[in-house]
């Protein structure tokens, strides 16, 4: 048997007495029970209520069971002695295809919701500097993203397809970076390849890749990965001329990540983890086997660690100071915090749960109960395969992967992010999931190279997730179509009621907000109209949801319209807009029902 240097005897190893009740089968049964409960609660009971607290607690139970089982059971040897024999071009090509193909049909989605707002800010800005100074739609400091929107507007007229192509390209680059870093951290290109493939096709990434407004997460992840790669190279490079350049590059990439999105705030923590946990005690033997190139971390010095951490903290402090000054505070989302997400790591747990089990409940419900059960069971079996292989991952690296996920989820932890049954808000999970992708790769590498060892199951998981991604893009295409229809109907209404005095003022109700988790016109309908008509038109949305510039239906019921003002209702089914009442011709007040 080919025994890896990482093989460690577990508490039960050795023959003879001291047999205890827990063996591998018992562990799998216990994990299976928890997994079944998790899946059942999430999928088949009352998903909307269940995820309010039960789902994350169940994921915690699952993680606890997995880690305790891993600590109690004897460690099996890693089978990663052989290296993948594929030529590099084939490896890189496979990753590019995996990142591009499942998202290819997102090119025709068009704009939805916030896209219109950002596009209008870019169109309205007099210069690139003005666009970069914009606070976005709420109170954000993302100059790089705004620069991207401005450049898109000036270079290709802001056409949505350009944004979609850019998002796919950056996602592809990110997948390649996941591979490059994973290869160094895991030490095997086979594991790194599978991790990168999973990252490339993962259905949780549909929102950030398909929605231009969420491109900030994709861009921020790209720069964060570049920063990680530079630090890692710095760490494994012998003292000499290239090291200052590498450190400078790492810091510059970190700053660019922060300027793309504040999600990179916790990156210094991950850098510390990579530096401290990037190698383990057994890797000294590995160094002897594979040469000095794979064991630079063994030569690390305390001074170097302090230098790297100190430099990152200075950049972070400078960024935070600038942000506080520019926004008059930390800015960002002002969503209410809840008891659970304040005291409990609910976001990272939800993220782990959704990464392992990316079920779009509303789409699955349309499959019929038998097909849905089969699909969910297959996915649960895949999760059990993950858990059963955790003992192949060295302890220090396991902490590195899980620690990365939890640290990178901190920025979104501070507000009420709750991935729902329709996988909304998953853009916040784009950056943290790099840790889970590497964990998957490490696990596969530990199981061994080849179809019989890990290749078949890993390939099935990746193929299934790619299929899910293709499927999950479909609601976005429909959302784009609905948004275009509503904008066209509004533009037609404006054109029909334009007088020599100017365009009419519209108060619009009945706009579709979302379609199966994909936003349609939850925000930014007025900006969409501005873009469609090429000028600023007075449009306000009548909605009970808190929207900047929106009018509450209770208020609209009392609103006195002046001549040239129209209260109109949009019907998404017929894609038509009709006048409810207009200024100068008061009609019956629309019924609000008195209910919120």
């Amino acid at each position: 048997m080919n025994v890896s240097p990482r093989q460690r005897p577990g508490p039960q190893s050795g023959s003879g007495g001291n047999r205890v009740w827990l063996d591998r089968r018992a562990f799998l049964v216990a994990s299976g029970i928890i997994l079944w409960v998790t899946v059942f609660v999430r999928q088949f009971v009352h998903p909307a209520d269940a995820i309010s607290w039960t789902y994350q607690v169940l994921v915690l139970c699952l993680l606890l069971a997995a880690t305790t089982g891993r600590a109690l059971l004897p460690q099996r040897p890693r089978n990663d002695a052989r290296e993948l024999a594929w030529p590099p071009a084939l490896v890189w090509g496979a990753i590019v295809l995996a990142a591009v193909l499942p998202h290819l049909h997102s090119l025709t989605i068009g704009f939805v919701s916030d896209d219109y707002g950002l596009a209008w800010i870019a169109r309205d800005a007099g210069s690139a500097a003005e666009a970069m100074r914009s606070r976005g739609l709420i109170s954000f400091l993302r100059p790089l993203v705004m620069l991207g929107w401005w450049v898109a507007d000036r270079v290709w007229g802001g056409a949505p397809v350009g944004h979609h192509i850019a998002a796919i390209l950056v996602h592809t680059a990110n997948s390649l970076l996941v591979y490059a870093i994973g290869r160094k951290l895991i030490g095997r290109s086979y594991g790194a390849l599978l991790g990168a493939l999973l990252f490339a096709v993962h259905p949780l990434h549909v929102e950030p890749v398909c929605w231009p407004a969420a491109g900030a997460d994709v861009l921020c992840t790209g720069f964060s990965l570049l920063s990680l790669l530079a630090v890692q190279t710095y760490w494994t490079t012998a003292p000499g001329g290239a090291r200052p350049v590498l450190l400078g590059g790492a810091l510059a990439a970190f700053l660019l990540a922060l300027l793309s999105k504040e999600a990179a705030l916790a990156l210094p923590g991950v850098i510390v983890l990579v530096v401290v946990l990037g190698g383990d005690s057994e890797s000294r033997q590995e160094c002897r086997s594979y040469g000095p190139a794979s064991c630079g971390h063994v030569q690390r010095k305390l001074g170097d660690v302090a230098l790297i951490v100190g430099a990152y903290v200075i950049v972070l402090a400078a960024y935070l100071g600038w942000r506080m000054q520019a926004l008059g505070g930390l800015g960002g989302y002002t969503l209410p915090r809840t008891f659970w997400n304040t005291i409990f790591p609910s976001n990272p747990l939800l993220l782990v749960g959704d990464f392992l089990f990316p079920v779009h409940t509303t789409l699955f419900a349309g499959m019929g109960s038998v097909a849905s059960w089969l699909a969910v069971t297959a996915m649960a079996a895949g999760v059990l395969w993950w858990l059963a292989g955790l003992d192949r991952v060295p302890g220090r690296r396991l902490w590195l992967w899980v620690g990365s996920v939890f640290l990178l989820a901190i920025p979104s932890w501070t507000f009420r992010w709750q991935p729902s049954a329709s996988l909304e808000w998953t853009r916040f999970g784009y950056l943290p999931t790099i840790g889970l992708a590497w964990l998957f790769g490490d696990l596969c590498a530990g199981r061994g190279l080849g179809w019989k060892r890990s290749g078949a199951v890993a390939t099935c998981i990746i193929a299934a997730f790619a299929a899910l991604t293709i499927w999950y893009v479909m609601p976005w295409r429909e959302a784009g179509r609905l948004a275009r229809q509503a904008v066209a109907a509004g533009a037609k209404m404006v054109e029909e009621h334009t007088t020599p005095e100017g365009p009419p003022a519209l108060y619009v109700r009945g706009l579709p907000e979302a379609y199966h988790g994909a936003p349609v016109l939850a925000n930014c309908y007025p900006q969409a109209m501005n873009l469609a008509l090429g000028k600023q038109v007075p449009v306000r949305v009548v909605t009970a949801m808190a929207r900047a510039g929106g009018v509450h239906p209770d208020v609209m019921a009392l609103w006195k319209l002046r001549p040239g003002e129209y209260f109109v209702a949009y019907d998404a089914k017929s894609a038509r807009m009709s006048v409810v009442r207009s200024g100068g011709r008061p009609g019956a007040l629309p019924s609000t029902g008195g209910q919120p």
């Binding site: 508490p11 205890v20 827990l22 562990f27 216990a30 029970i33 928890i34 409960v37 998790t38 059942f40 609660v41 009971v45 009352h46 209520d49 269940a50 039960t54 607690v57 169940l58 139970c61 699952l62 606890l64 069971a65 305790t68 089982g69 600590a71 109690l72 808190a546 929207r547 929106g550 009018v551 509450h552 209770d554 208020v555 019921a557 009392l558 609103w559 006195k560 319209l561 002046r562 003002e565 007040l589 609000t592 008195g594 209910q595 919120p596």
Partner: protein, 246 residues
């Protein structure tokens, strides 16, 4: 020792998961009752709208005895009691609704109305403020708060509330009328006149604004502030109109 701790942790994880499953299933088992209560609430609403008010209220009373945790039925009962003018009972039910659903701005607003009708101005202001805090972009809540504050004589806060009302309900004449009254009480006659004119600009037949402008033309002797004075009566009329719309 370490082994015992780890094994216990594994057992706790399994037991925790099973306990959660049992909890969720028990919650699910209660759903048919809640669903039934929801259906009764929907039926009661139709009965109430068709004029059979007592039958609707009694149906809701009955279903709440069976399923007291049904928030939908309790909320419907509270709203029907408000619409029937049974203020004391409505206030009791609305307090229960708010204790179960503390972010229900509409319930807070209705409770404020019920308390104001019962003469508890302080309570009305408290819940009206709560409604504004929960749904700050609903201009009608600000108009209502301004009206209640005016009645209580707190013209400074009434002015602030009226300004928010104008911000969120720029097309509603009542917002300008409240602003006018608040300015009038604060002694800003020119500002009051301008606000009433704004209201008339939106609605040339707005009686409170016309009345107030007529009185303003009569000189500062008619300045509001005393209970029962004409502008405050107008404010009360406006409140009634708001209540009928909500």
């Amino acid at each position: 020792m370490r082994r015992i701790a780890l094994e216990s942790l594994l057992l706790i994880s399994v037991c925790g998961a099973v306990a959660i499953l049992v909890t969720v299933l028990v919650m699910d088992a209660q759903k048919p009752d809640l669903r039934f209560a929801q259906q009764v609430a929907a039926g009661a609403q139709k009965l109430f709208e068709s004029g059979q008010r007592e039958a609707a209220i009694s149906a809701l009373d009955e279903v709440l005895q069976r399923t007291p945790e049904s928030l939908v039925a309790r909320r419907e009962l509270a709203m029907e009691l408000v619409a029937s003018g049974q203020w004391a009972e409505a206030a009791t039910q609305l307090r229960l609704v708010l204790s179960a659903s503390p972010r229900d701005a509409s319930a807070a607003r209705k409770l404020a109305e019920a308390l104001e009708r019962l003469g508890d101005l302080r309570g009305a202001i408290t819940y009206s403020r709560l409604a504004c805090r929960l749904d700050p972009e609903n201009g009608v809540y600000w108009i209502r708060l301004a009206a209640t504050l005016l009645r209580s004589g707190d013209h400074e806060e009434a002015l602030r509330a009226a300004q928010r009302a104008v911000r969120y309900a720029a097309g509603v004449p009542e917002a300008y009328v409240q602003l006018g009254f608040a300015k009038w009480q604060a002694g800003d006659m020119a500002g009051a006149k301008s606000a009433f004119l704004d209201a008339l600009d939106l609605d040339p037949r707005n009686l409170p604004a016309l009345d107030a402008l007529r009185k303003l033309g009569a000189g500062p002797a008619s300045r509001p502030g005393r209970p029962g004075s004409a502008p405050l009566e107008s404010a009360r009329l406006i409140s009634n109109r708001l209540d009928s719309v909500e």
